[in-house]
Amino acid sequence: MEAFGLLVHGFAVLLTWKTLVLMMTGLVLGIFVGVLPGLGGPNGVAILLPLTFSMDPTSAIVMLSCIYWGALFGGAITSILFNIPGEAWSVATTFDGYPMAQQGRAAEALTAAFTSSFIGSLVAVLLITFLAPMISSFALRFGPPEFFAVYLLTFCSFVGLGREAKHKTVISMSLGLLLAGVGMDTVSGQLRMTFGSAELLRGINFLVAVIGLFGISEILLTMEERLALRGHAAGISLRVVLSVWKDLPKYWVTLARSSFIGCWLGITPGGAIAASFMGYNLAKRFSKDQESFGKGRIEGVFAPETAAHASGTSALLPMLALGIPGSGTAAILLGGLMVWGLNPGPLLFVEHKDFVWGLIASMYLGNVVGLVLVLTTVPIFASILRVPFAAVAPMIVVSCAIGAYAIQNAMFDIWLMLGFGVVGYVFKKIGVPLAPFTLALVLGNRAEDAFRLSMIGSGGDMKVFWSNGLVGSITTLAIVLLFWPVIDQALATVSRLLRPAKA
């Protein structure tokens, strides 16, 4: 059990007062962001990222990942108490969580949500602990063609499996890849797509784009809606917590099923939202009493929350092991790694043991501390909603501007951020997904380098992507996923033809 020893070492790195204080700060900030209307995980991490620029990488990632856990917990508070899902993946939690709150069982619903989030992420972290080192040591054998094939797989699965219109995903992705290429070409040193502008010489910074896309645009979107709300904030007593926990074993099938779905969909990119709905729907389908779902059934809170958190956490697995983020938030964390001077990829496990295991240990610790924190402080956080948005909005704008400027000390970046804010607003409204854009922007340069290196190696022969079993199967899988909707339809047609319709 090499992993176990290293994990213990990770805890040792973590258990200093400084890190624990940072962890608490991160969690509190995260819950704050999660509770505020219109802000959720990726926005919170993007806006608060600059706070960590001057920290050492381990403290920085601990604080950032805690912001993320906090935001996930915070999202559940608003879903249940106010019927306002903080994130798309909290939508399924409102189905049964809000009815429970209306029946005066808010404390029970909140405890269920927090506990199941905790269980979901715990399962995912366990998976990361044992699987990530294996995958990364396997990936150490990868050469440029293998890496390019994996990047291709990531992009293709977004197009093939995403729910959005296919051409819009393609637009979002190719735009991200193009913008990643702006500036000086890393191989030849030649300038590309700068059109003589000295400001574009540096390239378009990923984090500046993210702060604009997720911070500024989210405020514009939030303002469109009616911000009035009404609800009850219940304090959670120890008695309620214990009674919910006592019933937990009864729901182990639901919890296990949702954890599995969450882990599976979290590793494949773009799956967190699907995971929560799938968890909910399967719990409903397998239940003996389907009618009671949607009317305040505790299982209806357990199922989506476990799945959402399992997938949110396991999205970090490909990021750590291969340097490929499984979600928008993971992409932002990956951008953070680069700012702190770490090179994401399989070598991370070899070269920065302290960092990786510190992060994994912080996932365990952060979730435990977070669970205790939210259970005890729900009423305080719920009352944050009383702070008028007119006071919160300008503060968020200022934080975004500080973040955008701090990355490269450039005023131009503040304007770029504003531009991306408008782009993000329009894109969200016409249904162009932002996650593929984020992912393409952060991976663009490395994908291109991998492609060019493999091409140089093979002398320009495309067959290099099928040159051995490993790279060949990844590339083929990528292409299958790209055309999955077509294949799926063809299969359905064939099976319909073979088996004449009953009705």
């Binding site: 469109e224 219940a234 009383r386 200022v398 060019r452």
Partner: protein, 180 residues
């Protein structure tokens, strides 16, 4: 059930009214965005073609990878353009209503002014003005509350970034006068 219930009610007096007429439909925005993306794809594609999008002795030239991406982007936007023109359903959907646009502008215009002010007055003065002004004018919050909140927030940011973490922000005449 629990007697520790706290009722939370937040009103939104300036909420956009529901029946407000649409400014523009989603279909129109779709078409405009597709055209813009198409133009961008052509511009970038041309620039990459100029930079060299073929092969030379060492492998692909610098423009090779981005050139083909521009082609993909162009093709996808062209498809989007046709799809938006053909589709009747989406065309009639509302992109934004007048009331919504007014509220969005109420945030966007101050943010724009804030960015301008940052360029000339420095970030800290600009953020004081933004927060105080926004709370007072848009949020209709009492003047003293607005000024106090803005001052406390700006001062906290200054202490955190400039003094504690040594992250330097753009500064203007006020900081110069104070000798920072």
């Amino acid at each position: 059930m629990s007697n520790t219930d706290i009722e939370i009610v937040v009103e939104d007096p300036t909420a956009p009214e529901a029946g407000s007429p649409a400014v523009v439909s989603t279909g129109v925005v779709d078409v405009v965005v597709s055209l813009l993306l198409l133009a961008l794809a052509v511009t970038l594609g041309w620039d990459n073609w100029r930079a060299g999008a073929s092969w030379d002795a060492t492998g692909p030239q610098p423009g090779y990878f981005p050139f083909y991406l521009s082609v993909i982007l162009g093709a996808a936007s062209l498809y989007g353009l046709v799809a938006a023109l053909v589709s009747r359903r989406e065309a009639s959907e509302t992109f934004v209503t007048q009331a919504q646009l007014r509220r969005v502008m109420a945030v966007f215009v101050p943010t724009l002014l804030f960015c301008l002010a940052t360029q000339f007055l420095g970030l800290y003065v600009a953020s004081f003005l933004l927060i105080a002004g926004f709370m007072r004018l848009v949020g209709k919050i009492a003047l003293w509350k607005s000024l106090l909140t803005a001052f406390v927030f700006t001062a906290a940011m200054f202490v955190t970034f400039d003094i504690a973490f040594d992250v330097i922000m753009p500064k203007g005449p006020l900081e110069a006068a104070l000798g920072r």
